[in-house]
């Protein structure tokens, strides 16, 4: 299928980039002051030379950097991310525990940002330079300028502390023993504020792009052709303008996958969500370099997968792309 072919070709080009990331990050971490063993010793309150030597050998830190990089890449191919000294279990296991929360947060935020952006952007474009446009554009600008962690904190003050409508943090009420449907409801209640916090900045970006792109497409020749055919304005917007205007947005979603993952670091910290972003923060603070490398690898894979899906969607929307490639 040409559609899949296009997306697969794009997928291939991300392999060299992935390699650059892995090698780059590995080299970067060689400059880090102290390694995992130092961090471990700091936690244990020191140890004698023989213990340290043994630990270094155990974690494979006694070999040269090149050898270790070779080993590391070799293990990655087998999806072996190594062992986390801090958590005392394989990195893969630590990450898998944390991944679902982040995925849920990203998916719900992306959905909210996209839907909100398309609807509000379209509304603004249809009433361009009138008051609904001014209102929507102003709100969009404010959202764009608001630091997400601050918005999260303020949301917490209003909805959790003052109004008591929503929980102020965490993924679920652990002691409550909810099961089945009620557990889902509980998780959903916990996700409302984080989702809003993460989504609003993207919503404001999509809103602006959508508005601009609707306005631009409206001036194109084929819209005039449709008018000359006797098509009414509603049908022109829904059939001719909207789909063309969506194309630049779809491209952006691919680019934003990684930004969003970065943003979830902060949001997860604000709401004490046990996700990948918070894990990254903890790994930095505790100098758990194996875990950090593992997170880098998984994040990169995640972004590449999202981009693959976006390419599929793009090729589905735009017949021109299917045979041409870029």
């Amino acid at each position: 299928m040409p559609l899949l072919g296009f997306a697969l070709r794009r997928l291939l080009t991300s392999i060299p980039s992935l390699l650059i990331i892995l090698v780059g990050v590995f080299v970067l971490l060689q400059f880090a002051p102290g390694d995992t063993v130092d961090a471990l010793l700091a936690q244990m309150g020191g140890g004698d030379i023989a213990v340290i030597e043994n630990l270094r050998r155990f974690y494979g830190l006694d070999a040269s950097a090149t050898v270790r990089m070779g080993r590391y890449l070799l293990r990655l191919v087998q999806l072996d991310l190594g062992f986390s000294a801090i958590y005392g279990k394989p990195v893969a296991e630590v990450i898998v525990e944390r991944l679902p929360v982040t995925l849920l947060l990203m998916a719900s935020s992306l959905l909210l940002a996209l839907l909100g952006g398309i609807v509000l952007g379209t509304m603004a474009a249809r009433r361009v330079n009138k008051w609904p446009d001014a209102l929507i554009s102003t709100v969009g600008l404010l959202f764009y300028a608001t630091p997400s962690f601050w918005l999260g904190l303020m949301g917490m003050v209003v909805f959790a502390v003052k109004l008591g409508w929503l929980p102020s943090g965490g993924y679920e009420e652990l002691g409550a023993g909810h099961v089945g449907f009620w557990r889902l409801v509980d998780i959903a209640r916990h996700m409302v504020l984080p989702t809003l916090t993460l989504a609003l900045i993207f919503l404001s970006i999509y809103l602006r792009i959508m508005r601009a792109s609707m306005l631009e497409v409206s001036t194109m020749d084929f819209v005039q052709t449709a008018r000359a055919k006797g098509v009414d304005e509603t049908r022109i917007v829904t059939r001719h303008v909207l789909r063309n205007a969506l194309l630049p947005m779809v491209t952006l979603v691919g680019l934003h996958a990684s930004t969003m993952l970065g943003g979830s670091c902060v949001v997860e910290s604000v709401f004490t969500l046990p996700g990948l972003g918070r894990l990254a923060y903890e790994a930095v603070v505790q100098r758990d370099l194996n875990t950090l490398l593992g997170i880098v690898f998984i994040s990169a894979l995640l972004v590449i997968i999202v981009n693959f899906l976006v390419d599929l969607l793009y090729a589905r929307l735009d017949p021109r792309i299917r045979e041409k490639g870029r």
Partner: protein
Amino acid sequence: MTPRLSIDDLSIAMPEGADRALALDGVSLSIGSDEIVCLVGESGSGKSMTARAILRLLPPVVRLTGGRIILDGKQDLLRLPEAGMRAVRGARIGMIFQEPMSALNPLHSIGAQIGEAFRVHTELGRREIEARVQALLAEVLIPDPLSAVKAYPHELSGGQRQRAMIAMALAMEPGLLIADEPTTALDVTTQAQILKLIRELQKRKGTGVLFITHDFGVVAEIADRVAVMQGGKIVEQGAAEDILNRPQHPYTRRLIAAIPPLHPAPSRLPERSAQLQVTGLTKTYGGKGPFRKHGRVIHALKDVSFDLHRGVTLGIVGESGSGKSTLARCLVRLLEADSGQVRLDGIDLSALSAKQWQRESRRIQMVFQDPFGSLNPRRRAGEIVAQGSIVRGEPRKQVQDRVRRLFDLVGLDPDATLRFPHEFSGGQRQRIGLARALALEPEILIADEPVSALDVSVQAQVLDLLADLRERLGLSLVFITHDLRVAAKVADDILVMQNGEIVESGPASQILLHPKHPYTQALIASVPGRHWTPPDAGTADSAA
């Protein structure tokens, strides 16, 4: 008999600050059923505005100030409510636009876009619509209508897209068809086919057609009646035969006099010596790079060889995609050819190092097509002309003096050197481009479609200037054009290209009067209005 459409004293005001107050000034025109009326004029004359006013698709900045547009002797379109107007658009008046690529929605199939007219105006079912769309596509002679229904615009050629546009405009069998420069974006052979198609469909269906064009050749080919527009007014109208052969208004006369006849100019220069020898030039695009393995390989030039003789103008003609622009760029090494040689007085230019070529490039200079794109918008006109001499280390003062002389030479005010490109008109910009090329005192000038973006009257002036400079400076000229009339006017020798190959070459008179290759014959047969010889208006010379 009531006319299909009569426009009565139509006036439209421009927004404040425009170059004239009225876009249309008391325009009156009628189109009968079963006739083709051509509305002719240069750019900015208001001809497209007239077309859009009929369908009430005017840009929001202009304002209607008066007049009536009566359809079928009954309704005044200007006073119809919006819903009533929508019932007219597409059903009783169809429209074809200039650029078929951008006029079609790139994301919908051809079938869906033609079918939309039925979906909007009728209650027909899906099956019935499909059948009609196929019948329409067959009627406009699209090859393989069955697969054309499912095709997307980018999968069709320019000519096929315009056929699809025509099918769309005629779907509801409207009594009136408006065609706004429908063949301007097409190659000449395709243009001939589309003109023939419009003529045939018009005859068969008895449609009234308002045909907008800037090209008197097209008028001669298709018009029953003609109206000539200038500055928002109709200056002259009448039967095609009268206007073409006995124009009355001075503006019409000037326009017609500016059209080069298709006859070759008398040949000059009996003795010839080869100055530029091109052998085996080959250039392919695509198929390179580690991630572009799937790209198709396009042969832009296939083993091209020819000689340019000293003092001669060599016309290179061909349609888009024939490789003529690639050839021009390979000659001056803006593109590197894959193989082949370009020898200038025996020196192989393609073998020179980048540094050596930078020195030799003084001897071959180029004039470009686009009067807007070929001048850096952020530099003053004088700087643009002086640049080449200054990089070559000439003293600034000396260069400045020469730039002023060059401005004078190409017919520009020497005091205009400090102005920016956007302060000049299209024709003046081409003169700046010419001055830039001449600043390095070249021996050979390569002109790539230098007049194709200009209105006919300006075109004539630039061509005259070019011919004059060639004589005075003893230049050899490679003149690339798609327009055989222009080639006939300027060229001593002609070289015809198709798909990257030279199919025929020889003296202009031989190529134009006795073409041997079938492609050359087709090209000449497609020149619009070739049977019409513009009258030799003696008064027209005062135009320049």
